[in-house]
Each structure stands twice: as C-alpha cells, then as structure tokens.
C-alpha cells in the first residue's frame, strides 16, 4: 500500500521520509534547513510566579503599568509562572507519591490562576487570556491588541517527562514560555524575576554571590552551579533552537528594566548559545 505514494511526493526528501527510518541520522540531517519566523515582531515576556506575582500589588501593579506603556511600541506575549501554591501542591504530591505527570497537571492549574489574575488587570486594555487550544487566535490578538497572556506551563500534563533526578516536573513555565518564543521565531525572550539576573549562587541565601551580566550556555553549564536562575531544560533546548539563541533575565521590581529589555538594551543577564 505504500508504493502508490511515491509519484505524489514533492522531493527526494519526501520519498526518503516516507520510506526511511526517522531514527536514521543521515535522514534527520536532511531535514535541517531554514525555518520561517512566524511572529518575528513579538516579544515573549515571562512574569515570575514566586518572584513577582506572589508579591502582590507592590510588584505587580507597576509592572502592569510598564507593560501597558510598552504596547504601542512592542508586541508582547505574556506568560506566567506558578510560584508558592505550586510548591505547596508539589509538596503534597511528593508526600503522597504522585507521579511527575500528575504534578505537571497541578502546576498548570497554578500558572493558569496567575495568568487569569494578570488578565483581569490588563482586561481594560483589551488583552485576552488564551489557553493552548486558543493559540491559533494569538496572531490576530497581537495585531489588534498588541498583547496576549497565556499560562507558562507547557501543556504536557500526564506526558511530562520525568526528570533525571527527583520528581519535580523538569519542564515548567520557563520552558513553556521559551518554546513559545522558539516556535514563533519571536524577537526576544525576557524572564522577569526578582533578582538582577544570574549570580554565582542564590543571592537570597549567599551574600558573596557575584552577578554575571553575560554568559554562554556552555560556560553556564560548565560552572555547574548549585542553583540556576532559569530552568535547566531551557539551557538544553536553547542549544537545539533554530531561532531563539538568547534569553534575558531581568529584575522586574526595578521600574524601567522591562522597557529597557524590550528596547534591546543591556539590562540584567543575557544568556546566549553562540
């Protein structure tokens, strides 16, 4: 039944894909090539859960104002982190022995709550909250309203991969936001947290922690830090990414930082592949 396709295929690659093995490295190499930038003007901005949203109005209100002020000049796809309630849910799940995939479902609910809260604060500006199933409408909203908000968790739910170590879902809201930036070929990926960027240790716990303004993924992995400012999965995925070859981490508690990052200024920490 396979042969009838042969004449219909566009190219040698098409023939090889239909008849060959997708585990053949030679065939996989043939599938490389230039990739469209689907939304080249969009900026993906992830708002931290524990670091920003859990602080309430003191952190969130100024940030909302700054986001709105930037919309005339920048298209923004906002993702949200989960934060302390996810940690509570994960703690209960660990105690009960629930699998990583179930923990992923629980984390999704929390980042969805955070997206809904930010959505209501942005509603009067016409910014919609979209769930994964509504992503086909995202380009329209970006053109019409300049912004859109989604929950940062990738929708892996029960299909979340186990981590190599431990039980906490390895692909959380940093990863989900990064993959949106990557697949759409977005202009930037900005992580809004409550630290100035990357440090040699957790600055909340270690006063000797040194700030790192710019670093490559390989340098960062080589340092083998005890703690990281973004999920390790983001660093792994960056190495394979077609478009999103850098990410920026900024302190959203400092007014003006997000504007500077959107304008492409050097603020916070820039992590690059190349």
């Amino acid at each position: 039944m396979r042969s009838e396709w042969q004449g219909e295929l566009l190219s040698e690659l098409g023939r090889n894909l239909v008849t060959g093995s997708l585990t053949d490295p030679e065939l996989l190499r043939q599938t490389a090539g230039p990739v469209q930038r689907i939304l080249p003007d969009a900026n993906v901005v992830k708002i931290g859960g524990q670091s920003v949203i859990d602080r309430g109005r003191s952190a969130v209100f100024p940030l909302i104002d700054e986001i709105v002020a930037n919309l005339p000049r920048h298209q923004i796809i906002l993702g949200t982190g989960a934060g302390t309630r996810a940690r509570q849910a994960y703690s209960v799940a660990l105690d009960l022995g629930l699998p990583t995939g179930v923990m992923s479902v629980l984390g999704t609910f929390v980042s969805m709550q955070n997206a809904r809260m930010l959505h209501y604060l942005l509603a009067k500006h016409g910014i919609p909250f979209i769930e994964p199933v509504q992503f086909p409408q995202l380009p329209l909203y970006l053109v019409e309203r300049r912004g859109v908000i989604f929950f940062g968790m990738p929708p892996y739910t029960y299909w979340q991969e186990n981590p190599l170590v431990g039980r906490i879902p390895p692909h959380r809201t940093d990863t989900g936001s990064f993959l949106v930036a990557e697949v759409f070929g977005a202009r930037s990926m900005i992580y809004v947290k409550d630290e100035d960027g990357l440090y040699t240790a957790d600055p909340k716990k270690d006063k000797n922690a040194k700030f790192i303004p710019r670093i490559t993924v390989d340098e960062l992995l080589e340092m083998d830090l005890q703690d990281l400012v973004v999920e390790g999965a983001v660093l792994d995925l960056m190495k394979n990414s077609q478009h999103r070859r850098s990410i920026r981490v900024i302190n959203g508690l400092v007014p003006g930082n997000l504007t500077r990052a959107l304008d492409g200024e050097d603020v916070g920490t820039l992590i690059t592949v190349d």
């Binding site: 396979r2 894909l17 053949d24 509570q88 029960y158 190599l164 077609q242």
Partner: protein
C-alpha cells in the same frame, strides 16, 4: 498562614518547598527520597500499534491483529496508542519544504495518528473500544477503562507547538512511541508493548541486511554503545527509559504475528525487551 510576607516581601504558603528555588540541586535530589509512587492503573496494558508498520498495510495486517486485540480485550484492560504512519511522513515533508518549525510539524502530525485511532476504533467498536479525543483522554482515562475493556488514543503526547527542537534536523522527537510510553509510565501500567512489523531489534535493518542478527534483550546503555544505524522505535524512548520510575522496560513485537500479542501484553518474552540501565 505562617509563611509571612514580612520575611522577604513574597506571600508564601507553608510547605516543604516554600521559599525554595526549584532549581536548587539538593532540593531536587531530596524529592526522590519520598515514598513509592502511586500506580494509577496497575492492571492496564499499554500498547502502541505502528502506523507505517501495521495500520498503513491495511486489511492484510490489521484484520488479524484486530481479532487478536478483540480476544485480548476479553480478559485484559488495554490502552492502545496509534502511530500516524505514512501521512505523518508526508505532512512532515510538505511542512519542511515550507520552512515550518518543529512545533508546527508536531501539531500537524497529531491529526494523522488521530485518524488512525479512529480507523482502529472502527474495527474494535463492537468491543466498546473507540478512539477518545485527546482533549479529554488523560484526565478521564481511569474512568473510561472502568466502563470499557479498553480505549484507543492517538499515541502522540500533547506537546504540539511546545515540542522540543531536536539536536539534528527538524523532525519532532516526541512522537507516538514516546506518547504511548509516557502514558504507561505516568499511569503506572503493567506492560508497555510496541507492535511493529519486525520481530524486534536487530544489529542492522533486517529488511535490508540479511546478516542482521536478533537482539532478545538489551539495556539502554548497551544499546546506545552499539550505535545502531537505525532503530525500530523512536530514539527518545531511550532517554525516557533512563528516567523511568514505574515502566522500566518495554517489548517490541511483530504485529504480523498476532499470536504474540496476548503473551506480550502479559509480560511474556516473545520479542525484544529493552530495559532501563
């Protein structure tokens, strides 16, 4: 709420992980020290029916297999994933030609496996076994398998545009073998069986190389060390097996020999077993 916001300006909920960075290595490692994982569906058997290897062959392969599935369903709960087969390969080739990214290819391929789930579902409908829409499949799976002897789903994991860019090329790495395996792992099922059109794993492709020798059982590290030119399953299964907690092995069987199905579902060794480690 004891976890006050006076401490660091963040409103916390008291918990084990409160105020912690989930990226801290010690903290992450400590989460392994909790009790055994819950097995949600310990009696269910998960299997993946190959798209190109079985379903695309049509009647000659699928009718005898559907009959064997029907017999197996009489005494077992089956969760059946399907591959997308040749239509997925075709849509990949068009998508690649148009310069579409990996995530879009992953999203497109879901439709092919879902079509095949409905094809198989038509053949098994008389057993009450049908294709379940992916939107409700995960959350309602335990409910469905209490009411029916089995379910069919598109084997894809719901990664869609959130698919990971692969190290080489642009083909989505998490395809239907991976999605079906992850179902078995997360739900703590009894066995995971890949139903293909070869007896199992060979040192070379037996369709092209008559000197290929059969591998009856092998661990992930040993298999990686062999650097086989191609594998009869999605390569990412090896990564997933390395990280397994509940489903630490899978078996590849030849679906053109339907008599192997029932023993494989029960864990008997009738094909190639690949195990963690």
């Amino acid at each position: 709420m004891k976890g006050s916001h006076a401490l660091d300006g963040r409103h916390h909920v008291d918990s084990l992980l409160m105020r912690e960075s989930l990226l801290d290595k010690d903290l992450v490692a400590a989460t392994d020290e909790h009790g055994p994982l819950v097995r949600m569906l310990p009696e269910a058997r998960v299997l993946k029916i190959g798209g190109r290897s079985i379903i695309d062959r049509g009647r000659e392969a699928l009718f005898p297999l559907a009959e064997a599935l029907g017999e197996a369903l009489a005494t077992r709960t089956l969760i059946i994933g399907t591959g997308g087969g040749v239509r997925s390969r075709h849509v990949f080739s068009i998508g690649l030609d148009l310069g579409l990214p990996t995530g879009v290819l992953a999203q497109l391929a879901i439709a092919d496996a879902l079509g095949n789930a409905h094809i198989l579902g038509t053949l098994l409908a008389s057993h009450g076994v049908v294709a379940i829409p992916p939107e409700i499949f995960g959350h309602l799976l335990p409910f469905f398998v209490k009411g029916a002897p089995g379910v069919i789903f598109n084997g894809d994991p719901p990664y869609s545009i959130w698919e990971h860019p692969p190290p080489v090329g642009r083909i989505p790495p998490h395809r239907t073998d991976a999605g079906s395996y992850l179902t078995a792992e997360c739900f703590g099922c009894k066995t995971f069986t890949l139903v293909k059109d070869v007896d199992g794993l060979y040192t070379a492709d037996p369709k092209r190389d008559s000197s290929a020798s059969f591998i009856r059982e092998i661990g992930v590290s040993e298999l990686r060390a062999k650097h086989l030119p191609s594998l009869p399953f999605d390569e990412i299964l090896l990564d997933l097996l390395e990280r397994s907690r509940l489903m630490t092995r899978f078996q590849i069987i030849n679906g053109l020999k339907p008599e192997l199905l029932a023993p494989a579902l029960d864990g008997e060794h009738v094909g190639t077993i690949v195990h963690a480690g």
